[in-house]
């Protein structure tokens, strides 16, 4: 099994006619993802890669029965596009876009949560269930099917660690990998995705790829203290990052004393989570943990 999306999920691409939207739609289709429709305001009636384009999400959903959405929309228009997807009950909604104002994210993320709709991102690489479907922009070849779930705040580091698992051992393939995003305000955090992996019988262990900024890793540790979870292995980036400097991602900043890698690592270790010193150690620890 997979979480969030599988080969039967019918995907709508919002912003399908833009450069990124067109490119990634083609790549996702090649991977086997069921993309059934696209939406770009003012471009309704066209067809791209055999996919019909609509002016409105509601039209697209009515015609194609799409159930989930991925957005390739410029930052300033994202909030409106997310509301449109929410009103058509699309779930999950994957927001790839970087650079969205925090004030926008606060409102649309809360609105989706109130409606029990899952938002992945913003500023994320998306979701991949290897050999089933990809709703995102990650390089497909570093993934293969297997028992490990991955949850990551970053992009390239997530591919790096996935690649080492895929290369290290044929039994370290992945069930589903979720890039939850590098922004300060995101729709889904570690805890919620860990809960989904908990309910998925095929996932045997979970990899957490965290980084400096905020307290999502600490809150996961608090959760683990009180709940039964599958074995978790973590890697946290930014041990050498200075305070008050934004390290690339909008959310990767140690601010007002909160969010250091050391604090996160210590807190995770306190609740029994193994934290890898270097990215390639994640695979080694997993072999141990899975007892294979």
């Amino acid at each position: 099994m997979t979480i969030l999306v599988d080969k039967n999920t019918k995907i709508l691409v919002q912003g399908i006619t833009g450069r990124e939207g067109q490119f990634h739609t083609k790549v996702m289709l090649d991977y086997g993802t069921q993309i059934v429709a696209g939406v770009t305001p003012g471009k309704g009636g066209q067809e791209l890669n055999g996919i019909p384009v609509y002016d409105f999400v509601s039209e697209a959903v009515e015609e194609t029965q799409a159930t989930a959405s991925i957005l390739f929309i410029p930052a300033r228009f994202v909030a409106d596009a997310v509301y449109e997807a929410i009103e058509s009950n699309l779930n999950p909604i994957v927001v790839i876009t970087e650079g969205i104002p925090i004030r926008d994210s606060i409102v649309f993320v809360n609105y989706a949560r109130d409606k029990n709709i899952v938002i992945i991102g913003p500023n994320c690489p998306g979701i991949i269930s290897p050999e089933e479907c990809k709703v995102g922009v990650m390089p497909s070849h570093v993934f293969r099917k297997g028992p490990v779930g991955i949850i990551a705040r970053s992009g390239t580091l997530f591919y790096e660690i996935a690649a080492t698992l895929t290369a290290a051992d044929s039994r370290l393939g992945q069930s589903t990998c979720v890039g939850i995003g590098g922004d300060p305000i995101i729709g889904s955090d570690f805890i919620e995705i860990v809960q989904r992996f908990q309910a998925d019988p095929e996932t045997k262990a979970v990899v957490i790829i965290g980084e400096i900024g905020g307290d999502a890793e600490e809150r996961l540790a608090d959760y683990i203290q009180d709940h039964k979870v599958k074995p978790i292995v973590a890697f946290i980036a930014g041990k050498t990052a200075p305070s008050d400097k934004r390290m690339g991602h909008a959310g990767a900043i140690i601010s007002m004393g909160v969010g250091s890698a050391e604090g996160k690592i210590n807190r995770l270790k306190e609740v029994g989570i193994q934290v890898a010193d270097v990215p390639s150690d994640v695979a080694k620890i997993l072999v141990d943990v899975l007892n294979i």
Binding site: R76, I100, I106, V107, N110, E160, P184, G238, S280
Partner: protein, 381 residues
């Protein structure tokens, strides 16, 4: 984007939040003229975008306007945490009877804004939260409606029992929230917000950070954003011109990688093997040879960088473009430094061929590449 205290106070004044009387000056004659106009003891406050100005000697009091001139001479031009003081804010000295703390910030885990009020001001609020949590009241702001009257009343009543003062505080909180919305603030803070002996509530200090992602909505701030570049180091400035995500660190091994997480992990792994990272340089996704050339040149020309680790895991970034950029940079730059390249992903074979033909060492694992550059540097290159 951080605003200076004087800029923040100007916005406070526009929105009706009371601030001390004062003006900005960039030389000691101006300071004296302002002190003369105010005709009372003044506080001279350095305008630099770092915390701890007071402790660093960047905030001083002058009783007379003559003193103001000499005091300001000791502050203007001084260096506070690497930044030179070019401007001072000259304000009337307030007769303070009580200090409070008030802020509205983004709370990441609550996914909302939160208003924080404290009965103690001029404090390190995180420290106070640990030591005397009962002195602090937090009110999370509902995302759709903004701050509501009963919430503001609760905050005001927490800070003071005087009905008169509560009214003033209610007005101030409402106005601060207007500023948050109008300017897309990540943080707005008055620390301290003071009650004067004359019975007035005044924002004695003011701080504001604007969400960089919202700048497209604030065209009048974009010029200001360019000015902020003055606070960057030479190499941070050059990196910014090319659109790299870049931060100077205090080590000697330069790093170029793609993606923020991978770049941070590259810094950490250098440290893990006993080296010291000199910088964070994320070239971003899809970088072509030209960008790679500029990134490499930037580190080659930085004298504190003794060696370079390039760590590329290509997705939309192509290995051949990366390799060509590095080769070209080495051709056009006179400086020679040890450079170790880890290059995998899209078009890695083509990239590795280009490097091999130019006689440049490349590796396939980031661990071995990091170890190698640390060895090269510690053995003296």
């Amino acid at each position: 984007m951080k605003l200076h205290e004087y800029e923040t106070k100007k916005i406070f004044a526009e929105y009706g939040v009371p601030i001390p009387k004062g003006e900005i000056a960039s030389n000691s004659d101006e300071v004296k003229a302002i002190a003369d106009r105010l005709n009372r003891p003044v506080v001279i406050k350095s305008q630099v975008l770092v915390s701890g100005r007071g402790k660093a000697g960047g905030i001083k009091i002058a009783e007379k306007s003559e003193d103001a001139k000499t005091v300001s001479q000791s502050i203007l031009g001084m260096n506070i945490k690497g930044l030179t003081v070019e401007k001072v804010l000259v304000e009337e000295r307030l007769n303070i009877s009580k200090e409070f703390y008030l802020s509205i910030i983004v709370d990441r885990s609550a996914r909302s804004y939160v208003t924080i009020a404290s009965k103690e001001g001029g404090v390190d609020i995180e420290q106070l939260a640990l030591e005397k949590p009962d002195q602090i009241l937090k009110v999370y702001i509902q995302p759709y409606f903004g701050i509501r009257t009963f919430e503001v009343r609760k905050l005001a009543q927490f800070l003071t029992s005087s009905k008169e003062l509560q009214k003033e505080i209610i007005s101030i909180i409402n106005k601060l929230f207007e500023v948050v919305t109008a300017y897309d603030c990540e943080l707005i803070e008055s620390n301290p917000l003071v009650l004067t002996e004359e019975g007035k509530i005044i924002a004695a200090d003011a701080r504001m950070i604007i969400d960089d992602n919202s700048l497209f909505r604030h065209p009048h701030l974009q010029e200001k954003a360019k000015e902020e570049l003055r606070d960057l180091t030479e190499f941070e400035l050059r990196a910014k011109e090319f659109g790299f995500s870049y931060v100077d660190l205090d080590g000697n091994i330069g790093i170029i990688a793609n993606g923020a997480g991978l770049t941070m992990a590259s810094m950490d792994i250098i440290d893990f093997y006993g080296g010291k990272p000199a910088n964070f340089l994320d070239i971003g996704g899809g970088a072509q040879a030209e960008r790679m050339l500029e990134a490499t040149k930037l580190l080659l020309e930085n004298p504190t960088v003794k060696g370079i680790l390039v760590n590329i895991l290509g997705g939309i970034t192509r290995g051949d473009e990366v390799a060509q950029g590095i080769v070209n940079a080495l051709k056009v730059t006179a400086v020679k430094k040890p450079i170790v390249i880890r290059l995998v992903g899209t078009r890695e074979k083509e990239g590795q061929k280009i490097l091999a033909e130019a006689g440049i060492e490349y590796l396939k694992s980031m661990e071995t590449a990091a170890k190698r550059i640390v060895e090269l540097i510690s053995s003296g290159g």
